[in-house]
C-alpha cells in the first residue's frame, strides 16, 4: 500500500546510510577490492583504508586506534566484551553484573555465561530506567570480574550515569564495559573521562552501513577472542575484514563527531515537539524513560488500553514507520524487558510505541504524526474492552 506521505520514524531499527559513507564504500565494492592481509599493492590499499577507518572510529571516543577491534555489529562487540573479558579474568572470579535494561546482546550473553556457571546479578533501575548506583555498589563483590552498563538505552532513551558507575567499579578494580551503540552518534564520548575499560559501537546507529561494529578495549585488558582464526585485528578477532563496511563506519564516525552538536539540536527539536504534542492531543499517553536525561532522537511512550502492533499497522498504512516494545511485536512474543525492569505494568507495556528520529526528519513529520496518530488511537480504543471498562468505571 503506497501512501501520500512516507514518514520514517524507526531510525533506531535502521536509518538511511549517509551518502558520504556510501560514496567512500563504493570503490571497495568495485575496483579497489582487496584483502588487508595481502602483501601486495592491493592489500596495502585495503589495509590503509581499514587503518584510516580505525583512526576515525578511535577519534570519536578519544581512544587509540590500536585499541579498536572491528566486529560485524554491536551484538558481536557486546558478546566479545561480555564473554571475552570474563574469559580473560576467569581466574579472578565468577561474578558478573549487568544492568537490567541492557540490550539483549549484553543480557543474553550474560545469561549464557550464567548457564556455564558464572553468577549473574542484574543491577536494578528506577522508574525512568536509570540504574541504582547504591545497588551497584552494594551488590559488587570481591569476585566480580565484569560490570556492564550501557551509556544509553535505545528503547526508552534513558542515559545512564556511566561515569559514576565506572568510578564505583574502578574503586574495586573491576573492568567496566559500556554499550554505547545507541548513544555514540549523539553524546560526546571520551573514554578517559568516562573511566571505562571497554566500549561498544555499532555502525548502523552512527548512520553508517549495517554489518559493522567495533569494540574498544583499553590497552592491557585481556579479551579472549570470540572468533578464532587468523591474526586480524591484532589477533583478537579472526576473519577477512569487511573492508567496504569498515570504511563506511569510519566515515560515519567522523561525521558523527563533526555534526554531533548540530544533529542533536535538530533531533531534540523534533523529539520535544512530539513529546509535548502527543499527550496534548491524546489522553492517557505516557512518556517512558527519563524526561531530561534522554537521547535526542528518542520519543517513546506507552498508550493506555491498546496494544502496539495495531498502532504500528495502522500507522504503516498512513506511511508512518515506527516500532514497539509490545509482546505482540517481538518475534519472541515477550514484552519489553526494559519496561518491565522500570516497573511498567505488563498491560501498559503492551501499548508501547517508539518514535525514533533521524537527521532526515522534519517538523512536518511530527505534524503529520500528530494528525494521523490520534484517530488511530481512538479507533483502537473503540475496539478495546479495556477502554470500555475504564470508561464504565470512570462513570
Amino acid at each position: 500500500m503506497r501512501t501520500a506521505r512516507e514518514v520514517y520514524l524507526d531510525n533506531y531499527a535502521a536509518s538511511p546510510l549517509l551518502p558520504e559513507a556510501r560514496d567512500a564504500m563504493l570503490p571497495f565494492l568495485g575496483e579497489s577490492f582487496g584483502n588487508p592481509s595481502s602483501l601486495h599493492g592491493r592489500g596495502d590499499a585495503a589495509r590503509e583504508a581499514v587503518e584510516e577507518a580505525r583512526s576515525r572510529v578511535a577519534a570519536l571516543i578519544g581512544a587509540a586506534p590500536e585499541e579498536i577491534i572491528f566486529t560485524c555489529n554491536g551484538t558481536e562487540a557486546n558478546n566479545l566484551a561480555v564473554k571475552g573479558i570474563t574469559a580473560g579474568s576467569r581466574r579472578k572470579g565468577r561474578h558478573i553484573m549487568v544492568s537490567a535494561v541492557e540490550h539483549f546482546s549484553v543480557l543474553h550473553a550474560a545469561r549464557s555465561l550464567e548457564k556455564q556457571g558464572y553468577e549473574l546479578e542484574l543491577v536494578p533501575v528506577d522508574e525512568y530506567g536509570r540504574i541504582d548506583l547504591g545497588a551497584l555498589r552494594s551488590l559488587m563483590r570481591d569476585d566480580t570480574i565484569l560490570v556492564s552498563v550501557m551509556l544509553a538505552n535505545g528503547e526508552v532513551g534513558t542515559i545512564q550515569p556511566v561515569a559514576e558507575a565506572a568510578c564505583i567499579a574502578a574503586e574495586r578494580g573491576v573492568p567496566f564495559h559500556t554499550d554505547a551503540a545507541a548513544a555514540a552518534a549523539h553524546l560526546p564520548i571520551d573514554v578517559e573521562s568516562l573511566g571505562v575499560q571497554a566500549l561498544t559501537l555499532s555502525s548502523d546507529l552512527l548512520y553508517g552501513p549495517q554489518g559493522v561494529g567495533a569494540l574498544w578495549v583499553r590497552r592491557g585488558l585481556r579479551v579472549i577472542p570470540l572468533l578464532d582464526g587468523g591474526v586480524q585485528e591484532g589477533g583478537r578477532r579472526g576473519g577477512t575484514e569487511n573492508v567496504a563496511g569498515i570504511v563506511g563506519m569510519g566515515v560515519a564516525a567522523e561525521l558523527a563527531r563533526e555534526r554531533m552538536t548540530e544533529r542533536s539540536a535538530h533531533l531534540r527539536g523534533l523529539r520535544d515537539a512530539l513529546i509535548a504534542g502527543l499527550p496534548a492531543r491524546v489522553d492517557h499517553v505516557h512518556l517512558t524513560g527519563h524526561p531530561v536525561e534522554r537521547l535526542p532522537w528518542n520519543a517513546s511512550f506507552v498508550v493506555e488500553f491498546i496494544e502496539g502492533e495495531g498502532m504500528l499497522l495502522l500507522l504503516d498504512q498512513q506511511g508512518v514507520a515506527v516500532s514497539s516494545g509490545s509482546a505482540c511485536t517481538s518475534r519472541a512474543l515477550k514484552g519489553s524487558h526494559v519496561l518491565t525492569a522500570m516497573g511498567v505494568p505488563p498491560e501498559r507495556a503492551q501499548g508501547s510505541i517508539l518514535f525514533s528520529f533521524g537527521p532526515q526528519n522534519t517538523l512536518q513529520d511530527v505534524d503529520y504524526v500528530l494528525e494521523v496518530f490520534p484517530p488511530i488511537v481512538e479507533r483502537l480504543r473503540q475496539m478495546s474492552p479495556l477502554y470500555a471498562k475504564f470508561l464504565k468505571e470512570r462513570g
Binding site: 496494544e307 509482546a327 505488563p346 478495546s384
Partner: protein
Amino acid sequence: MAQYSDVVMDHFTNPRNVGEIEDADGVGEVGNPVCGDMMTFYIKVDEEGRLAEVKYKTFGCGAAIAVSSMVSEMAKGKTIEEALKITRDGVAEELGGLPANKMHCSNLGADALHKAIEDYLEKKGKE
C-alpha cells in the same frame, strides 16, 4: 506487514461487527492483557436458536483483531450447535493462514465465542 495474509489485513483494517451488546444473551471473555491479547464476545440468540447478533471488543495485535472479526462473521446466523463447531484452525484457515507465532496467543476468538455461548446456555438453564 508481509507476515499477514490479505484477508487478515482486510479484517484488521475493517473489522466487522465491533462493539458491545448492552442486553446480550451471552458474554464470553478470554485472554489477559498481561499476555498480550484479550477478547470479549457478546451474542444475541433469536427464537430459532440462531446467533442473531455477534459483537466483540478486542485488545491485542492485528491477528487478534482479525480473528475476532472473522469469528463474528462466521458465527452470525449460525445455530448454537453450528457455532460450537467453529474451531481455531477453522478460523485461521478462513483468514488465509496466520503466522506460526500468532496461532496460539492471538487465535482466541473461537474460545471467546464458545464462552459466550456457554454463558448463554447457563443463563438459559437457570431460567
